[in-house]
Every structure is written in structure tokens, then in C-alpha cells.
Amino acid sequence: MELGRRIGLKLGLSTREAFGRALAELGEEVPNIVVIDGDVNNSTRTEHFAKRFPERFFNFGIAESNMVGVAGGMAACGKIPVVASFACFLMCNAFDQLRMSVAYPRMNVKLVGSHAGISIGQDGPSQMGVEDVALACALGGFVVIVPADEVETREAVRAAIYHNGPVYIRVGRPEVPIVYTDGCNFTIGKANKLRDGRDVTLIANGIMVAAALEAAHLLEQDGISARVLDMHTVKPIDAYAIEEAARDTGAIVVAEEHFAYGGLGSVVAMAAAERYPVPIGFVNLGDTYSRSGDPDDLLRYYGLTADNIAETAKRTIGRKR
């Protein structure tokens, strides 16, 4: 992964691997955790939990809607089910079950969608979760988290397990740069300010956090001072951090590895519109499915790069009144 390399960020684990390891550790501490997977344990990395706690691990085969329904039932009996599959299959295949067996009855179920975004690469659009955040946000009462790196993923998984209520966590396939080299203070719903700035605020989550940091560096070379917010929680959104960013910097760019409609960009724009409207630029996957290809090629092709964030920032700053 090229993102973040120019500013010296080191590659760490994939966020799916970090999730799998964190879950296995938490299994010791929280005996109520049960894990449900759909024939992709070696992809989602729930295999780590399965090895340590085989009696609390269930492989339901390729049957996502059944998995989510079963999780709802187990949660009703006091278990903390963690359901994992590819983000697209979990959210899209089981959406009604998520709605009726989890969201509406407010069940304490954790959903983890892996292989999110286009950075899965060669397997192509059918395996890419690019609508998952919008779908998860649409579910009443859901918490939606998109961690940036292995450090934050570990904290996010812990926070999700200790949160009482449905949570969706989005993780990815490739190894990603470590953003939190000095550890990570993680609170659900509270953005992390990774860098302060005056002229524009770059708001990102997932792998785009590394890209935003790189973009801030590029902007600095052009004399533009950019704040960077890691908006790991899309819902509930940190409206205060957005208002503050709007007041202090007067322009916002939102970068995410997701379709344009209903993701982080939409949610940030809603908060800004209500509290302190400023020009906002968007870097995302637009409204069309991508293609198969090398992950870095795809990210470049679709403009999910530091350069494009920096360009978008300049254009957005130009729209300030």
C-alpha cells in the first residue's frame, strides 16, 4: 500500500488481522462473546478466536442472513455475538435480518465487515464493500466504526464489545500504514485530532486517514495549514469536532473509501450544515462500481490519494466566502 509512504508511515497489520487478534484476546476476558462466521474465517481472521475457543465459535457456512438471525437470538439470551463476513455480504445479504433481528429489538450484536472498499483489489467489485457504511448508518441505533490502522482497530473492537448495543465495525484486507505510532485514545463518537491546522480540515476514516495525513504534508509545502481529524465513528458523528473545524478553518474535505451517498461525507455534511455551514469537498468512490485491479492502481484510478485530497482542499478553500 502506497498511502502514507511519502511521510514515512510504516506498514502494519491489516485491520482484519488486528480485529481477529483483538477478538481472540477479548474472548478470554469476556466469556459471553460468541463468534459467528460464514465460511470465511480465514479471510475475516475470526480463525484466531476459533482456535482458542472452538466451543464458542460457529461456522454457519455461506448463509449470512441466517447468521444474523441466529445472532439476534443468542443476544436475546445474554450472549455477545460477533458476526463476521465480507462487508458486502454481511450488510447487503442480511440487511432485513439486521433490521428486524438486531436493530429494531436493540440487540447487543457486533457486526464486523471485512474486505471493505476497493483496496481488496483483484477480486473486483462483487467482493468490495462500498455501500456498507451507508447501510449500517441507516439502521436505527447502530454505532458505526471505521478504524484507520491496527492500533485503532484493537481499541475499537474492545470499545464495541463493552458498548451495550449493536455496533458495525468495518475492516479491510490489505496491510495498512500505522497512523497511531504512540497508541490511540479511542472513545466511540469522539474524533481524534491527528494534526492541527488553520486553513482547512481534512476529515477521514479507514485507510484514508493515512492519505489525509500525507495530504496535510503536501499542503504544508504549499503554505496551507491543514487540520486532520480521524473520524473513526461515523455514527454517532462527533458533531462538535465538525463544528469546531468549520469555525476554526472555514473549509472541510471528507475522504473515505466508500460510495458518495450515505457514507462519512453525507454525515459530516449534515452536521456541518446544521451547526456551521462552510464549503465542503468530497473524496470518495462516487456512484459507480469499480473494477478489478491492483489495489494501489485502483486507489490512484479512483482518486483516493493524498494528491487528490490536497487538490480538493485547495479547490474547497477557494470556495470560502
Partner: protein, 286 residues
Amino acid sequence: MAVAPALGIEQLREKARLIRKHIIVMTTLAGSGHPTTALSMVEVVVALYFGGILRYDPSNPYWEDRDRFILSKGHGCPALYAVLAEAGYFPVEQLKTLRQLGSPLEGHPNMRALPGIEASTGSLGQGLSIGLGHALAARLDGRDYHVFTMVGDGECDEGQVWEAAMAAKHFKVDNLTCIVDHNKYQQTGCVFDVMDYRPFADKWRAFGWHVQEIDGHDLEQVLSALRLAKSKPIKGTPTVIIAHTIKGKGVSFLEHRSDMHGRAIKIDEAKRALEELGWSWEGELD
């Protein structure tokens, strides 16, 4: 053009050997993909396209009266791409662009990118329903085409497969055939260890389907099963062909392997694989 001229059994065997070569070369060069998934389905697709079963015309891929082949287990697409290329849908050289940005040969089939692909698949469980849609449309339009859908045996975990099975019988659809590539493995292990749905053939019978069980690598059995299915042996009844196959078939060190799902092999392994298949690898893998 009506039916592509049917090849004799020896020529079909030779075609199967050629398709296996393409699969190894394409996925190795791509560096990713599902070669073992593709290798188990070779005889079935070879029989469909070159054994005089499917009515198709590569120069007119959207011909309304064509028979349909819908690959529900979309991750097996290297086998289908290889067959479509050999059938003349696109140049064989293009196979080497598999999974590259801009290539119509995506990691999973994209019907909007590649003529000859009947459905965009890759999320398992959906192809039989899509096939049923084509089959019902044929009835509405008074057309006599036949629809073949291939599903994986792991894919049969999905409830939608059985919803489609139930509906096909209910609507008395007999121009629909489901082929199960029963290679006994899915992603994380043997299908019966992951989700034991046995008795499998009886389940299809209970859903009202006509069932044929065959050795899916024996071209004669494959051909006669496909011919019988297409002849609509029982009026108002869809047919399922349970093709017993070997995941990774044709390459000794890939056969029956539970840990090779979704993994491409390295260049040196590919050389060995091609040698085993009786091909020279000289100039193939660069």
C-alpha cells in the same frame, strides 16, 4: 448459427486439457484467483460449449434465442473465460489480462464488461434465481431457449438457492437446469464439515426436481446428462445435475486440497502443473 458444431469425445478431452492450461496460466500471471474452483468445472463447461449442448453465436452474444449459461459460483470464472475465448467471443491472448485494471476479465464475472457473460456474479447464492428469471421470461416470450446455471456445493448453504429451487418447481419450469459442481470443498473446509446438508440429492428430490448424479469429469456422462436435461425429461420439472468432481482436478498437488481455495500458484508450481497436463511451459508464463 444454431448449435455450435459438436466435437467428438477425443477433441473434447483435448479442449479440457487446453482449458486447464489457460486456467493455470491466467491465474498464475494474475497472481490471484481461484484456480482449484475453475479446474473442477472444466468438463461441464467444455461439454456445454463444445459438445453441442448450448445454442450460441459468439458474433451475436445478445441473440435472444441463445441458450444461457449462468455461472453462479462466479469465482470459477477463469474456466468460463477460457471457454468463451476458445469459442470465439474474444481473442485468446486477452486471457492474460485477467484481473488487471481495465480488463473486461474481472476477478468475478461482469456482464456489462464482457459479452458472453450472462450474469454478474460473485456474491454466492444468486445465480439460480437469475436463471429462473431467464427461464420464466422464455415462457412469457414464447422462446425455446434453455437455461443452465452452475452453483458450487458450498454455495448450496445459501437459503436463496433453495428458495429458487422451490419456486422453479412451483412455476413448473422445465427449461432450467441446475448443475452443482460437487467438489466437496468450500473456502474453509469440506462441505460436510462446514454445513452438513446431506442427504443432498434427496433434498433436491424433495423440492420436486429431477435429479441426475454423475461423475463430473467423465465427459460421456456429462454430455448425456446435459442432453437429457435439455430434453426436459419430465414435463414441468426442472433438472439438477449433481456433478461429482474434484477440486483442483488435473493437477496432482492441487487436488482435494482444503487449503488452496482462492490461492493462485507460483510460477515454478505452474510449470509443474503444465508439465503434468502435458503442456510445455516455455513462453507461457511471461
